[in-house]
Amino acid sequence: MNIRFKFMKFRRIAAIISIVLFLISIISLATRGLSLGLDFSGGTLIEVSYEKPIELQSIRDTLEENGYSNSQVVNFGTNLDVLIKVSDQSGNSSIGENIFTILEKQGGPLELKRVEFVGSQIGDEFLEQGTKGALTALFMILMYVAFRFQYKFALGAVTALAHDVIIILGLFSFFKWDFDLTVLAALLAVIGYSLNDTIVVSDRIRENFRTERVLEPIDMVDLSLNQTLGRTIVTSLTTLLVLFALFIFGGELLRGFSLALILGVLVGTYSSIYVVANILMSLGLTQDDLAVPEVEGADFDEMP
């Protein structure tokens, strides 16, 4: 058996890094919160495109004159595109159109690219649904892994997922990146992806525990990690390749989404190596846990 990298040698350091990152994320989330995008915060957003660059300050002044003092005006992508956000809690749904009319009068030919209005109640609902959805996903996956593997693996998998999700949320909170529905979607995809990785590793650990009866658990885990390392790297690499393509060429609307996924793939790859294996080691996974060769694996062997 050749074990090229002794991954588990660093398991304590890795555990400390993970715990520290996790705690920082929690603290950041608790103190700074997430900067919720329009989908969750409610309000109005309007994106217009000018034919020639315009001073943002002049737009701000005009809006202020017209009673929209609570608006944010920023460039979006290029310096021709301007994004205006108004957080209005009264639920007035025609702010977007009003602002467009005002800007049209102010001068400069401009084009309406998009208007989004989300009532605050809808925003709250999205947030509630999103949270519920993420939790349901975690729970169902826990059930599936527990059913297919063993509860120690399930615990490892879910800890890894919680670890990934919290750290990504923490990063979004720390850097004040906008958290909207697409980022939530990315987060759920990360759950799927990270689990993918976790399962491949767990699967190999399970297999080795059943076949290689001579090694110590720590070596068994190292062996499994080494065996799956090639695959882990290649898959992460191809996924990162497409995600960078998306991040660079996918435009402003998908930036948060691809960013969350890129972070997810990085953190997910790390966690499938260190978090899952670490938990398994801490829980004291023994050969007895997996002693009886289950039939389910055999079922599929005959399939192509």
């Binding site: 639920g91 989004e116 009532g119 109640q121 529905l181 995600l243 609307l253 599929f300």
Partner: protein, 642 residues
């Protein structure tokens, strides 16, 4: 030894062929087109209208090219041909509408303006993109993938129906009718009011309390269950009446259905080729208008309210100053004089239901709220025997050609109010919060009257709770960005796989191409909308789809260390299968939940992700294996490069 049976190859082939056929329609370009329908929804477009449109467009086309030199020089026959070519590509009748296809967007837009200027309010014209899918594909239901609003451009509205107001109105009406009947039956009460969606009565003595309770219990029995929840408080002689869950649900369904009906009619006026007006959840209505670029105008029409006015018929003695002449809605030649004084308007109407009276004759029963009931009582008490008219009040828009300051003729829209009589019936008794209109000639007439009354009443007020407008340029931009990301991501992965895995990599790449075709085919087949995040989902699938192949290949590499090539290939595939299966099921769970909680664009992501997972499993396990078997299966190999 590594051989597929003929059936396995056949299965791959069938899936591939079906997938390709359903993906095919996406290769055909779309053509800018317009759709013309009569404004009056009762009239369907015919050959006459088609000829009229043809003439207008040909005339405009002739004006357009008559100064060009090659036109002037051409003979008559060529001239006619040139005019026709310049006018439009194709014109035909379809589903009561006329479809005209053009070769470019400029002609499409200018033709729309020309037709609108010539025909004004006679027709509704909608812009859309007509897919040029061949008939044989259409016949088997193969259509191009639908684009979500973020890609096609358009408006998405979410409206919420205010059920609370309606429920309160109904309770107020109920309060009034109970007060009246308690008075008639000499049931004495001290207090009566509506509070927190409940009707409260405090009775003066035990006798009244018991009589009222009995009456409540009797009236609570409805056909589909208990109408009210009655809370008794015998110690203080108080009774509280609330609508039961069934009754509340009925009120809600009534209001939402009615609003849906009204909204559909209004959306039709907007001239959108494929509008969606749907109930969403308990009390919301979603409206999607692809291609609509002006949310303000759309909102104006959607938010337009119809109204009702009840007025007494003018008698012979009514002074001409106090009466007005109106047309009937159904028959424009029939008119009647009504008094100018309005008794009640649509806002006090809380319900109108079509049904049958005790003689099995069609009737419409009407519910008013408290104020409405009072006004009606006052107006009718001295006028039994006279006729009472109901006017349907509509906001309409009229288009006119006007010359603007620059001297161009442009279409100007003005709104005006139109009032028509929908019912004129003799008052038989003093009316209150509940009354009915009988003596209707047919069942159809009765149900139509009920519909109009409800449309005028607008069952419950609505408010916009969400709006998303995507301009056409942004939609186009999004499609380009999405496509670019898919192509670049795809190219990167293909290059990487070829360099890293050689022959096996090429097999994986072919699987990846098949995968993309299958995703497109399945999306077309499902009729699911493709959104920008959906395209991102495809990109992500491309990256993740190779995972299954990578798993298999690395497994084969490992097996090769101990086993001879053929066995290594076989064991590599079968060992990797379990892992692939487990890993994908969990991602599928996440995608499924995303589908359930997401809306619009995010749902699109969940769909492409799920579809991608399933197709990538199929391609990795079946297609790659098939190819490897074809390459290596039948021969003895000493070394395997992977």
């Amino acid at each position: 030894m590594n051989k597929f049976s003929i059936y396995q190859y056949l299965l791959i082939l069938i899936v591939l062929v079906v997938g390709t056929i359903y993906a095919l329609p996406n290769l055909y370009p779309t053509q800018p087109s317009i759709q013309v329908a009569y404004t009056d929804s009762g009239k369907s477009a015919d050959q006459t209208l088609l000829n009229e449109l043809e003439d207008i467009l040909k005339k405009a086309s002739e004006d357009d090219i008559q100064n060009e030199s090659n036109y002037i020089e051409a003979d008559e026959e060529t001239k006619a041909k040139m005019v026709l070519e310049n006018a439009y590509d194709e014109i035909f009748l379809r589903d009561n509408k006329i479809v005209i296809k053009f070769n470019d967007v400029e002609t499409q837009l200018s033709s729309k303006t020309i037709l609108q200027k010539n025909l004004l309010d006679k027709v509704i014209i909608a812009l859309f993109l007509e897919p040029s899918t061949p008939a044989w594909l259409k016949n088997i239901g193969a259509n191009p993938v639908k684009l979500g609003l973020d890609l096609s451009g358009g408006v998405h509205f979410l409206l919420e129906v205010d059920i609370d107001t309606l429920q309160n109105d109904r309770l107020e009406g109920l309060l009034d009718s109970y007060r009246k009947s308690f008075k008639d039956e000499r049931i004495k009460y001290e207090e009566s009011y509506v509070k927190d969606f409940a009707l409260h009565f405090k009775f003066s003595d035990k006798g009244s309390y018991n009589k009222a309770l009995k009456k409540y219990n009797e009236e609570s029995q409805a056909i589909n269950g208990l109408q009210y929840v009655i809370t008794e408080r015998p110690s203080t002689n108080e009774i509280k009446l609330e609508y039961s869950d069934i009754a509340v649900r009925e009120i809600r369904d009534y209001a939402v259905t009615q609003n849906l009906y009204t909204l559909r009619k209004r959306v039709n006026e907007l001239g959108v080729s494929e509008p969606i007006v749907q109930r969403q959840g308990k009390d919301r209505i979603v409206i999607e208008l692809p291609g609509v670029q002006d949310p303000t105008a759309a909102k104006k029409i959607i938010g337009k309210t119809a109204n009702l006015e009840w007025r007494l018929e003018a008698s012979t003695r009514t002074s001409p100053l106090r009466k007005e002449k109106f047309n009937y809605k159904e028959n424009e030649f029939q008119t009647a004089f009504l008094e100018k004084a309005v008794i009640i308007t649509g806002d006090v109407v809380s319900g109108a239901q079509f049904g049958f009276d005790e003689n099995n004759q069609p009737q419409v029963s009407i519910d008013l709220n408290l104020d409405g009931g009072r006004a009606m009582q006052k107006a009718t008490s001295g006028n039994i025997g006279r006729r009472l008219g109901v006017l349907f009040v509509e906001q309409k828009t009229k288009s006119e050609l006007v010359t603007n300051s620059q001297g161009e003729s442009v279409i100007e829209q003005t709104t005006y109010i139109e009032k028509n009589i929908i019912s004129l019936a003799t008052i038989q008794a003093v009316l209150g919060t509940r009354f009915r209109i009988t003596g209707l000639s047919s069942q159809t007439e009765a149900s139509e009257l009920a519909l109009l009354l409800r449309a005028g009443a607008l069952a419950a007020p609505m408010k916009f709770v969400e709006e998303r407008t995507v301009g056409p340029s942004l939609g186009k931009e999004n499609v380009e960005l999405g496509m670019k990301s898919i192509i670049i991501g795809f190219a990167l992965v293909v290059i990487f796989m070829t360099l890293y895995y050689r022959v096996f990599g090429i097999a994986a790449n072919i699987s990846l191409i098949i995968n993309l075709i299958l995703i497109t085919g399945v999306m077309s087949l499902l009729g699911a909308s493709l959104t920008l995040p959906g395209m991102a989902g495809i990109v992500l699938t491309v990256g993740m789809a190779v995972d299954a192949n990578v798993l298999i290949f690395s497994r084969i590499r490992e097996e090769l260390k101990e086993k001879e090539p053929q066995t290594a290939i076989r064991d590599g595939f079968s060992r990797a299968f379990v892992t692939i299966f487990d890993a994908n099921v969990t991602t599928l769970i996440a995608a499924l939940i995303l589908y359930l909680i997401g809306t619009g664009p995010v749902k699109g992501f969940a769909i492409t992700l799920s579809v991608g997972i399933v197709t990538s499993m199929f391609t990795a396990i079946m297609c790659t294996r098939g190819m490897i078997n074809l390459i290596y299966g039948n021969r003895h190999i000493r070394t395997l490069k992977i």
